[in-house]
């Protein structure tokens, strides 16, 4: 039934990745928030970064963007954007890159857009700053950018303030601001979570169109596995600050291997098929300041064994382009219980 196309991004073929992240860790006040997150993003590829509250999915992206507060200690063995080493980049260089090479959109456009500037002014400012063009050219670009994201009568709406727009239109405007300089990498952090379902579908449709047109690499951060399944080529599942499974989207949904991924999929009610009873993962996510030793999912895991408490399991290959961090992978059958 389910047809997931094979991922374009095989680890060996293709052009150099747009974004390379290896062993990215963030500690705040000595507390590890994310732990050794690695990710590769290629041209035209959409990576879905999935997890529940506190899994570290947003912190990972903010660390890449260097948008975390000063107290955050960020370490990585590799962090490269379009081949450039971001670990060596100055604050000034980062300012140049943000908005031109890499951009970010957020869940709540009212906090991302400046309420006292018109939508057009926010695009004009970005275009002038990054491309050094004149105001008239920048204004024409702003109108064009608003038209591209489906804002009707863009030549008039360019002078609207964010509060004059509906939620869906504001989300479109924020996307226009982010994409005005055609970044190569887009990080979309829960871009449709606050929207009604018919408006969410419109924004996802728009992001698909833009993704196809600009062939960006996109990181889609979401808690919604339906959104990820419809949108992403590859999926990374995070739990308690770590990536616990990654694979082409089809494999994650058809043959998930990590007990957390399997439990998560079984716990979501579907609008397409009947479920008598949902699988409920027992317990709650452990607090970051007091993680369990060994595998962080062990206290909630139906498959836990004594060895799971001893050491953190590494991400190991368990299929084509498919990795999971679980000691008991071989004993958990794909068709079995979560």
């Amino acid at each position: 039934m389910t047809q997931h196309p094979p991922s374009l991004a095989s680890p060996v073929a293709g052009p150099a990745p747009l974004l390379e992240v290896a062993d990215l860790s963030v500690r705040i006040g000595g507390v590890p928030i994310i732990d050794k997150v690695s990710m590769t993003l290629r041209e035209g590829e959409v990576v879905g970064l999935v997890g529940e509250s506190g899994s570290g999915k947003s912190v990972s992206s903010l660390a890449i963007m260097r948008l975390l507060p000063k107290e955050a200690e960020i370490t990585a063995s590799r962090l490269r954007l379009l081949g450039e080493d971001l670990l060596q980049a100055s604050e000034r260089r980062y300012e140049q890159l943000r908005g031109s090479a890499i951009a970010m959109i957020f869940q709540e456009p009212m906090t991302a857009l400046n309420p006292v500037l018109t939508v057009g002014e926010q695009i004009i400012e970005t275009v002038i700053r990054h491309e050094g063009v004149g105001r008239r050219v920048a204004r024409a670009r702003a109108i064009d950018a608003l038209g591209r994201v489906g804002i009707p009568a863009a030549a008039q709406r360019v002078d609207d303030y964010p509060h004059q727009m509906s939620g869906g239109m504001r989300q479109r405007a924020m996307i226009a601001v982010a994409l005005a300089c055609q970044p190569r990498v887009l990080i979309a952090d829960e871009p449709t979570t606050a929207l009604d379902v018919t408006i969410q579908a419109q924004i996802l449709e728009l992001l698909q169109d833009l993704q196809e047109e600009y062939r960006m690499g996109t990181v889609m951060i979401t808690h919604d596995l339906g959104v990820v399944s419809s949108f992403a080529d590859r999926v990374m599942i995070m739990y308690s600050g770590r990536v616990i499974e990654e694979a082409p989207a089809g494999a994650v949904f058809d043959a998930p291997r990590h007990p957390y991924t399997r439990g998560l999929l079984a716990s979501i009610p579907s609008s397409e098929v009947d479920t008598d009873r949902l699988y409920a993962i027992p317990g709650t996510v452990p607090p970051a300041f007091d993680p369990p030793p060994g595998c962080r999912f062990e206290p909630r895991c139906a498959h836990a064994a004594a060895g799971c408490r001893l050491a953190q399991p590494a991400l190991l290959a368990c299929g084509p382009d498919h990795r999971a961090a679980c000691l008991r992978l071989d004993e958990i059958t794909p068709a079995g219980a979560p």
Binding site: P5, G44, A201, Q202, Q211, S229, F231, S270, S271
Partner: protein, 342 residues
Amino acid sequence: MQDPLPPLLRVQDLHKEFSSGGGWLGGAPRVVRAVDRVSFEVRAGETLGVVGESGCGKTTLGRMVLRLLEATSGKVEFDGTDLGGLDAARMRAMRRNMQIIFQDPFGALNPRMTVGELIVEPLVIHGVGTPASRQARLDELLGLVGLAPYHAARFAHEFSGGQRQRICIARALALNPRFIVCDEAASALDVSIQAQILNLLQDLKQSLGLTYLFISHDLGVIRHISDRVMVMYLGQVVEMGSKHQIFDAPSHPYTAALLRASPSRNRGKTRFAAIKGDLPSPANPPPGCRFHTRCPLAQPVCRTTPPPLMPVGASGQSAACHFPGSDRGPLDPGKTVGAMGG
């Protein structure tokens, strides 16, 4: 399916208008019809799901059913009693049968009270039992919702969202109600916790013989929990039917559009094909059929004449559409695409 019993809840032409704007700077106040002549019944032991987007009136409806908000007009009958005719004291007594669970378990619990005090508070307010019997009831309620006796001495802020929702559920159950309005009761929770709460609500329904009016924007949750479903759009009911009628054979184009817009994890990478247009403001709904501005099937009559809710077929499904059943196409919103641009 055939239930000879009269409905536990009967709602007739329930209507709520709010006025906004106006005032001493002039200008006539605008009237917002938040809920526009809604009628339905809920049978004992049944879960009626209410689904819709922002501004559809589902929350206002839930509050009016319990008279937490007074209706502008219309009638609510609970177990044969017209709630509109009850004075405050009698209404309070009636509320022992009817409770509500809200979305936000953070806002619903007084931070200065212990969990035990919170859960027995309804018993104290209604003067039920003695201190000793309340203590016994508290232990029983904690057990029902999966909390431990020692939790009673703690404060709500010490608990996670899922556990707080358990406290809210225990509190709602304290007076042994027969009917509970669940207003987005699991929506603020992470999915793994949401499943725990949905399972708990289903178990309680079974063991205590409860009846639910279950309000949610989440189509998956509505399909999972409901026996029958009511779909609302801008204050009106656009379609009503059994769970399978609504999800597998929707008659109203809005229901069909909602189902298509809902992201699926079973279809693989797909093109979204969303219906166009913004949600109109409930303060200024379109004339005729309120959905016509976004409807792919709209005809001239739809722009002028509001369609009444009429039976579709003979099996209890009804829809408010001039052309019901004509948008029953496959739910797959488009072709499965290859990797983007590939």
